[in-house]
């Protein structure tokens, strides 16, 4: 069962990587990396069940949180050009 799941998730990850390489704007690339991260979480869980070690789910849990924080940080950097400023403060600085 989990051989099929792992293979399917790997195919989907390859397709997401193609979008990350092609993607015309930087937002396409961030989107592709974000979906790639979600699929990585599922891949870790699936491999854990495949090898009979569901303890891998802890790693998946940590990866889900790290992926989210990374995406938000990169997006904030692209939106404001700074990791500390909000839009309100950025206007006042201008």
């Amino acid at each position: 069962m989990f051989v099929v799941a792992t293979a399917g998730i790997l195919v989907a990850m390859a397709l997401a990587l193609v979008r990350a390489l092609l993607g015309p704007t930087v937002y396409d690339r961030v989107l592709a990396v974000n979906t790639f991260g979600t699929k990585t979480v599922l891949l870790i869980a699936s491999v854990g069940f495949l090898t009979g070690r569901p303890e891998f789910l802890d790693l998946a849990l940590v990866y889900a949180l790290m992926n989210f924080i990374g995406t938000i940080a990169v997006l904030k950097f692209f939106e404001f050009g700074d990791l500390g400023l909000t839009r309100h403060v950025a206007r006042e600085v201008e």
Partner: protein, 116 residues
């Protein structure tokens, strides 16, 4: 008997989850601009990941019926992963769309004669 039914349900839900995941990723590849691609990616996160994790939970319950120990910690972890995905995926999608608009990406529109 009960375990066999649960096993079939686990198979069905994992195959359905893989279907949604592949369809969503093909959508990310083929859609014309960032905002439409976000739509396809959001489907991957809810239906694809949800059904896959549900299948894993059913598989764990089948293992419990066959006498495996510490099954409930696995169920709790699966529920936590799904809960985090449920919160983080819409927030990431929203932030991405907002950053795209602030970054000056024009939404794709059929009226302007854009080609997909």
């Amino acid at each position: 008997m009960m375990a066999a039914v649960l096993d079939v349900m686990a198979w069905a839900s994992i195959v359905a989850g893989l279907f949604f995941m592949l369809v969503g990723t093909i959508g990310v590849l083929r859609m014309p601009d960032v905002y439409t691609r976000l739509h396809a990616a959001g489907m991957t996160d809810t239906m694809g990941a949800g059904l896959l994790l549900f299948g894993m939970a059913l598989h764990t319950i089948t293992g419990m019926m066959n006498g495996q120990g510490h099954w409930w910690t696995v169920l709790v972890r699966l529920a936590f992963i799904y809960g985090f995905l449920l919160f983080t995926s819409p927030i990431a999608t929203h932030a991405l769309a907002r950053a795209g608009l602030a970054g000056g990406v024009e939404p794709w529109s059929n009226e302007k004669g854009d080609q997909p």
